[in-house]
């Protein structure tokens, strides 16, 4: 039996159907229809102690719903979840002591007060004894470099600072598992990088089992050992990052603005033409076939090019790819 077990889990929601217009609004006074939305559809996976797992998929794939079921907030419609032998929703409080949860798009910090006050509050909530509390506050203030903004009201902090504070607060009671729901959403590149470094260090230094949801491909590449990918509630991939990249990643698009209409000239067959828009042509290629540098050089050496743009595949492309390859 693994540390975290998810077996054939399903979660359905009932949603009222709303239609546009006055007539429909009037109609809905008397009669309304519901849709059953399946947010999570027969998903199974296991996670071992100390793993760092990226739980990925596009927006609305069912990532947050899964995290909520794992943390005991939501009860699965069908299937079974155990975390260290405990069913989260049946033993919500016991499970809660063992986990830390950070929801990226909402805050558990006290808006008008400095971080220190929220630390104090969490000590009371989790009944953390004074020694452990002091040690952890010192450790995380140091690790997350929070010294400079510890005394400022939370509302004045930058998004990156707030996210660091959120993660620190979720770790004060020494949880064995940390769930991070979109920890880098809305952050700038520098702040994203900081958060990624911190996440890696928590996992390696504190040996905390870590599961993070994201739809940012860079998050996945830079921190995850293992990937679980879902879309529309269904599991699409579960395995090592390396295999994942080989299987689905490595695709990129090159957009080329030619200086002259290059009628009739053959382009290297390893670059697949997907669209033409006047003098702008878009090609798709794969790293295993032709490296990006080689592709760039090929265009520059052989054509009169006024503009070149390379875009790495994002999560939507990867998911599309996964469907194609099955």
């Amino acid at each position: 039996m693994s540390y975290i077990n998810v077996e054939n889990v399903v979660k359905e929601f009932k949603v009222v159907r709303r239609e546009k217009g006055l007539i429909n609004a009037l109609k809905s006074l008397f009669h309304r229809e519901y849709d059953i939305v399946t947010a999570v559809d027969h998903i199974s996976f296991t996670i071992d102690k100390g793993e760092l797992v990226g739980y990925i998929g596009p927006n609305g794939a069912g990532k947050s719903t899964t995290i909520k079921m794992l943390s005991g907030i939501l009860v699965p419609t069908a299937g079974r979840i155990t975390v260290d032998g405990v069913i989260p929703h049946q033993n919500r409080k016991e499970n809660a002591r063992r986990i830390g949860v950070v929801f990226g798009q909402r805050s558990s910090l006290e808006w008008d007060l400095p971080m220190e006050e929220t630390f104090d509050l969490f000590q009371k909530i989790y009944r953390i004894d004074d020694r452990m509390y002091k040690r952890n506050v010192e450790f995380y203030v140091e690790l997350f470099a929070m010294q400079s903004f510890l005394k400022r009201p939370v509302r004045q902090l930058s998004l990156g600072q707030k996210m660091r504070a959120e993660i620190a607060v979720a770790l004060l009671h020494d949880p064995e598992i940390l769930y991070l729901d979109e920890p880098t959403i809305g952050l700038d590149v520098v702040a994203k990088n900081h958060i990624r470094q911190f996440i890696k260090r928590i996992n390696s230094e504190k040996k905390i089992t870590l599961m993070l949801t994201t739809h940012d491909m860079d998050d996945i590449e830079q921190i995850c050992d293992r990937i679980i990918m879902i879309d529309q509630g269904k599991l699409l991939y579960d395995g090592f990052l390396q295999n994942f990249k080989e299987k689905y990643g490595g695709e990129y698009t090159i957009t080329v603005d030619f200086a002259y209409a290059e009628e009739g000239r053959e382009v290297d067959p390893r670059l697949q033409l997907v669209s033409i828009e006047g003098q702008r042509k878009v090609y798709v290629a794969h790293r295993s076939v032709i490296e990006t540098t080689e592709a760039l050089r090929y265009f520059i050496d052989n054509f009169d090019v006024s503009h070149l743009n390379i875009r790495e595949a994002d999560i939507e492309d990867v998911v599309r790819n996964a469907y194609v390859k099955g």
């Binding site: 009037l26 006074l29 008397f30």
Partner: protein
């Protein structure tokens, strides 16, 4: 007033009706909400009818007022909710508090007209869904009064229109306060107190002691619906008509001046301090 004469172009008219329709449709969105609101409006009326019944049990005429007078007063004041522009203040205040006022200022429409359209749409929906059925029900049940003369009726209409303008300007001014305040959630409590004591919202002012009545003449609240209703019921004679209309116009003038001055000051504050 710009709002009421301001259908400057066809696009303004279209904008007005689109907003109006949107507010109107929104009110129909939630079935439960409608049923609940309707029911609570019924309860409210039931409590007040019970109250007046009990009060008039000992004496059928108190201060020249009968039970039937009171029912008509209550229903009329209730129906005139249509011209009470409460909601204008929150709409404007929220724009200022959330900072979207800055974008409103650069959009090609009159903010006043915008808010007016939304409020009227909302009011009309509420009127049709709750106010009209409940109070016409009451009037049918207990007997509806008509103005003593046609002229009383015409004066009623004129004072109601003036009252609507006063109401709109009052709430618009209240809505501007967040230019200077950090929040405004408590303003509605002050409004409640003012409308209870000086507008005859629940108890007609004529039951009050003289000192309160005297104060009420120096505040705008009684000129919104109270004066109109007393004309309708024939409690105010026609000789008082010019004085009442004049006072309403004076209040419109005062509020309009205040509104323009505050708006200028507020805009200045916005541009100087960046909101």
């Amino acid at each position: 007033m710009r709002v009421f004469s301001g259908h400057k172009s066809q696009s303004t008219t279209i904008l007005f009706f689109t907003l109006f329709k949107l507010s109107f449709i929104k009110a129909f969105q939630y079935r439960g909400y409608i049923l609940v609101t309707l029911f609570s409006a019924l309860l409210d009326v039931f409590v007040r009818i019970s109250l007046w019944t009990a009060l008039f049990r000992a004496n059928p005429v108190v201060q020249n007022t009968t039970f039937h007078d009171m029912i008509n007063y209550m229903a009329l004041t209730g129906l005139l909710m249509l011209v009470q522009m409460s909601g204008v203040d929150d709409r404007l205040a929220n724009r200022i508090l959330q900072g979207s006022i800055a974008t409103d200022l650069i959009r090609p429409y009159s903010l006043k007209l915008f808010i007016f359209a939304q409020t009227i749409g909302d009011n009309l929906a509420h009127f049709l869904l709750f106010v009209f059925p409940v109070y016409t029900g009451v009037l049918v049940l207990f007997g509806m009064r008509f103005p003593p003369t046609l002229l009383h009726g015409l004066v009623f209409v004129a004072t109601v229109i003036n009252g609507a303008v006063i109401s709109f300007l009052y709430y618009y001014i209240i809505g501007m306060l967040p230019f200077w305040l950090e929040s405004n959630w408590y303003v509605r409590f002050v409004n409640y107190a003012m409308f209870t004591l000086f507008a005859g919202a629940f108890v007609p002012i004529w039951f009050y002691p003289d000192f309160l009545i005297q104060i009420s003449y120096y505040l705008p609240f009684r000129y919104i619906t109270y004066e109109a209703v007393t004309f309708y019921l024939g409690r105010t004679g026609l000789p008082a008509m010019p004085a009442v209309l004049l006072r309403q116009w004076v209040w419109i003038g005062i509020l309009l001046g205040l509104e323009v001055a505050l708006w200028k000051a507020g805009q200045k504050k916005l541009t100087v301090y960046g909101g």
